[in-house]
């Protein structure tokens, strides 16, 4: 392609940035989701978030607008002060793990493992996307001999599920150019004539998968292409993780996706940075919700959950920092909102609810049993 054509392509590609991405080929609408075929998308707000801020009208208006239609638990007391251990509790429903240095894993099976122990489920059915880039080890699987790494979640750090394994390769080869929308009809035409010419000799699954293939191709290219390197957000790592989670959601339609954002750590810099991070988290929630709603397979089967790990000081200190003092009650308080099918609108869990209940509740929605969980499923909030 000549230089001017390349330039033209690049300009058109840049122009396409201003347009919303086109939806891929529509998938067939599924039957109504039953327990056992349900999906869960869990958005975890790490880095210390005040329980009262989860779904507040000022900072998280998107979540606030939806929370009334779901289940809300506003004050879940936790004994922990360490954020990633709280996340482990969220995933295992178990709290009494000793916090020994050098002990990276847990022996209690995670929600990922309990789900993947079901017959026929693959690694692509359970995902952990962590904005902290895997700094906290052992969250995708326990060391339980009957579960363990064989049933671990797939992980997608900020570079994405494709970008991560390809990071070094992309550094060497460069990222691909964005594909202009006008190019797709040309590609489709050439592939179609190829399919017709080779059709009698092709394996049936290949000759039938052109449309599905284009859906995957578009999602992967969106994750890898050159415009993907341009990110503007209060928390770049949260933005990258959100993007990776959206790709995972669109490509794999997983049964369980956990996205952990840590932008609230900015509270250490000051109240304004903390609030910006929460607004960004709310935007991430809305993008996840829109992606679920836009996909007919996901729309009827997906429960969206948003939970915090640990709390944060109720008020900023004299230096403007919204601190993480371990002895304050607000620091040891979590919160949770559940939205979607299988839940009673406006229900609240009984008194005594705690963070360890979230995993059993999500397990119940997924139709699996979480062995070793200390918490209880919030049956009073679930539709029979």
């Amino acid at each position: 392609m000549s230089l001017w054509l390349r330039s033209a392509c690049l300009c058109l590609a840049l122009a396409s940035l201003l347009r919303p991405a086109p939806a891929g080929p529509p998938a067939a609408a599924p039957a109504a989701a039953r327990e056992g075929t349900r999906r869960v998308v869990l958005l975890v707000l790490g880095g210390g978030v005040r329980a009262s801020d989860l779904g507040s009208r000022d900072l998280m208006p998107g979540l606030a607008a939806q929370a009334g239609a779901g289940v809300r638990a506003e004050a879940l007391p936790t004994q922990r002060a360490t954020a990633w251990l709280c996340l482990r509790d969220l995933l295992t429903g178990h709290e009494d793990e000793p916090e020994a240095p050098g002990r990276p894993g847990t022996v209690h099976p995670t929600l990922f493992e309990a789900l993947r122990a079901q017959p026929g489920l693959r690694a692509q059915d359970a995902w952990l996307v962590d904005a902290s880039a895997g700094e906290e080890p052992g969250l995708e699987a326990s060391s339980h001999p009957a579960f363990g790494r064989t049933l671990a979640a797939s992980t997608a750090p900020g570079d994405g599920s494709f970008g991560a394994p390809l990071a070094a390769f992309l550094e060497q080869s460069g990222r691909p150019l964005p594909v202009d929308e006008q190019v797709w009809p040309l590609l489709r035409r050439l592939r179609e004539v190829n399919r017709q010419a080779a059709g009698p000799f092709l394996p049936s699954e290949l000759s039938d998968s052109l449309a599905e293939g284009e859906r995957i191709e578009r999602a992967v290219l969106a994750e890898l292409d050159r415009k993907a390197g341009v990110i503007k957000a209060a928390s770049v790592s949260d933005e990258k993780a959100t993007r990776a989670a959206l790709t995972v959601l669109g490509v794999h339609r997983p049964r369980l996706l956990v996205l952990r954002l840590v932008g609230a750590e900015a509270g250490q810099q000051g109240l304004a940075a903390y609030e910006d991070a929460l607004r960004q988290a709310d935007h991430a929630f809305q993008r996840l919700r829109s992606a679920v709603a836009a996909d007919p397979v996901l729309a009827t089967s997906t429960v969206l959950a948003v939970a915090t790990e640990t709390g944060r000081n109720a008020r900023p200190g004299p230096d403007g920092v919204l601190g993480l003092d371990e002895d304050t009650p607000a620091r040891r308080m979590a919160a949770c909102v559940l939205l979607g099918p299988g839940l009673k609108a406006g229900a609240r869990p009984r008194a005594g609810a705690r963070p360890q209940d979230i995993a059993p509740t999500l397990a119940r929605l997924l139709g699996v049993v979480l062995p070793g969980a200390q918490g209880r499923a919030w049956e009073e909030c679930l539709l029979r």
Binding site: G174, L186, V193, F201, L202, P203, V220
Partner: protein
């Protein structure tokens, strides 16, 4: 101190060079460690005193926090005992460290790779990156650790072999392999050399002229892969061996042709080209270069199939596929000499797949990749016998992992997992599955299934019977006259793409990264097109400008012959011509569409 030539630890820039030249694919992996010749002693063993004095302090500073407590993974340092002298504890640590050292290829030792930075060739490590191999003149901790793995003592540092990158040449041209960059770590000792040819192509009668000199020369008489191996001695110990691959073939690169020109494939019968392309994918898991395709299109098909399977590259292709399938890659790569020699023995001894797979399963790396518990039960069932594990097997595995005896279905009570592994390897379901896996490289599923019974009988008889059986299969009409297309495996797809687009093979790191990306979406709909796009837009492919294509139909026909092994239909020629001239199209888009069409995914 003299700077060490980077051995396995590749600096970032060397990574690209490694892709082109040190590729492990046709040649031997950098960890290649064919057994030393019988007239030479084995490489020196790690020395306890050297460890206690030079290595232990560093280990204690960096590794204690995670690895001297439960939960630190398989590398577990000795638990402290009250009142125990430091030297005694370090001596116990030494025993724990030994399994992480590879004597035959010390530079590949896990002890080194786990602490080395990723961009220097290290392996992922939860605890972080501690060392860089930056070729500094001054002695670094990296040097000390590599000395230790190489068998250094307090009175002698071992010599180190250094061979240059892979060599590419043509038949009849003199090859010089230079060992003059080898050096003694003490610098004072005179080096002695010992060369040998570890592998030659079928029919070659080449011999080395002087196996004791600092360099050897030879003239390749056949196309294919030659493996030249060198060990050096400082008069006290012999080093581990290093090997360099010499690739010999007629090769005209895309870059050397004028832009827009065609490769000359139209001179051959398209049916023959198609068969050659399929045989290359079946046996070598890659496409032929245009020059290979052109040369082999005139060969007798049965002879071509039989000779391809005897190439070292065929063994290499099997090895890469098998280790990837069994999860024995990166820091879980095989370490035992028998496993590392498999690419060669598979071809030279015509090793049956049952025995070859058993070697990999018995390698210590398999137990590391699939530790006792659910992981082992799942691996034995899914990877070896190709079925799901039963509930009884999972329960037995959990008991064994907890250190309790267990009742294994079909075997009875066992005290540890090794008896279970051997039971599976001796079972008929495993034999059938291993033979089926090998046959599926060459035959459609139905034909492969029919040949499994005779194949198992041949495999039981040994290498000679298996070799005869395999040759019979390769010469059968089901292989040579097959019309139906089979889906390419991941490795074949990626190797073929590199050869078709870049006329080179991917390095092992490139291959692993791309396979991982491919496997993110299993099934018929594959992310492969996006990977093609990366290469097409990388600037590494010399696409012609539109004005340079003077014969557009000829150029399109040439692309079809190269990438699909056939001529385009009238409809395809017309559609490609239009896209070629479209303002949004061009040569890149036509190529991209061809390499991402459904037919290219097949062999």
């Amino acid at each position: 101190m003299r700077a060490r030539p980077a051995p396995a630890a590749l600096a970032p820039a060397a990574w690209i060079v490694a892709g082109l030249l040190l590729g492990l694919w046709l040649g031997v992996p950098q960890g290649e460690s064919a057994p030393p010749r019988k007239d030479l002693p084995p490489p020196p063993a790690p020395d306890r005193d050297f460890y206690v004095e030079r290595v232990a302090p560093w280990i204690e500073e960096h590794c204690d926090r995670c690895h001297r407590v439960e939960g630190g993974g398989s590398f577990l340092l000795a638990a402290p005992r009250a009142g125990e002298p430091v030297a005694a504890r370090r001596a116990r640590d030494f025993e724990r460290v030994l399994p992480f050292i590879q004597r035959e290829a010390p530079w590949e030792s896990r002890l080194l790779r786990k602490v080395l930075a990723l961009d220097c060739g290290g392996d992922p490590h939860v605890g972080g990156e501690f060392l860089r191999d930056d070729g500094d003149e001054a002695e670094t901790t990296w040097d000390v650790l590599l000395d230790f793995c190489s068998g250094a003592t307090r009175s002698n540092l071992p010599p180190e072999v250094f061979l240059g990158p892979e060599i590419r040449t043509k038949p009849g041209e003199t090859v010089v392999v230079d060992g003059q960059d080898c050096f003694d770590r003490d610098r004072g000792d005179t080096l002695r050399y010992h060369w040998d040819l570890a592998a030659t192509p079928p029919g070659s009668r080449v011999a080395l002229d002087d196996v004791r000199g600092s360099r050897v020369t030879f003239v390749p008489d056949q196309g294919g892969t030659y493996l030249v191996r060198l060990r050096v001695s400082d008069g006290k110990v012999w080093s581990a061996a290093r090997t360099v691959a010499v690739e010999v073939h007629q090769h005209t690169s895309e870059a050397s042709r004028p832009p827009g020109s065609i490769s000359g494939l139209q001179a051959a019968d398209p049916a023959a080209l198609r068969r050659v392309r399929r045989l290359y994918f079946d046996v070598l898991a890659r496409s032929p270069t245009p020059s290979e395709a052109l040369a082999d299109a005139f060969a007798e098909p049965g002879e071509l199939a039989a000779s391809l399977v005897l190439r070292a590259e065929a063994g290499r292709a099997w090895w890469e596929e098998a280790t990837l399938r069994l999860g024995l890659v990166e820091d879980l790569r095989p370490t035992g000499p028998e496993a590392l020699d498999l690419p060669l023995t598979l071809v030279s001894e015509r090793l049956p797949p049952t025995r070859a797979e058993a070697v990999l399963v018995r390698d210590p790396s398999f137990a590391r990749a699939h530790p006792p518990g659910r992981a082992l039960a799942t691996a034995l069932a899914t990877l070896l016998v190709e079925r799901e594990p039963t509930a009884a097997e999972l329960e037995a595995a959990a008991r064994l992992a907890a250190g309790q005896p267990a009742e294994v279905p079909g075997l009875g009570p066992v005290a540890d997992a090794s008896a279970w592994v051997e039971h599976v390897l001796a079972s008929e379901p495993f034999e059938r599955a291993a033979v089926r896996r090998r046959l599926l490289r060459f035959l459609p599923a139905g034909d492969a299934e029919r040949q499994v019974g005779p194949g198992v009988l041949a495999a039981r008889e040994g290498g000679k019977a298996w070799g005869a059986f395999l040759e019979k299969v390769l010469r059968s009409p089901q292989v040579l006259d097959r019309q139906r297309l089979e889906r390419k495996d991941d490795l074949g797809l990626l190797r073929g793409l590199f050869v078709d687009l870049l006329e080179r093979k991917p390095t092992d790191r490139e291959l692993l990264a791309l396979v991982r990306a491919l496997r993110v979406v299993p099934g018929a709909a594959t992310p492969f097109p996006a990977l093609v796009k990366v290469l097409v837009d990388s600037g590494q492919v010399p696409f012609p400008l539109l004005v340079d294509i003077t014969d557009a139909p000829g150029w399109i026909r040439d692309r079809y012959l190269r990438y699909l092994g056939r001529l385009p239909s009238a409809a395809e020629l017309s559609a490609c011509g239009e896209v070629l001239l479209d303002p949004q199209g061009g040569p890149e888009l036509v190529t991209y569409a061809l390499l991402t069409g459904p037919e290219y995914l097949c062999r």
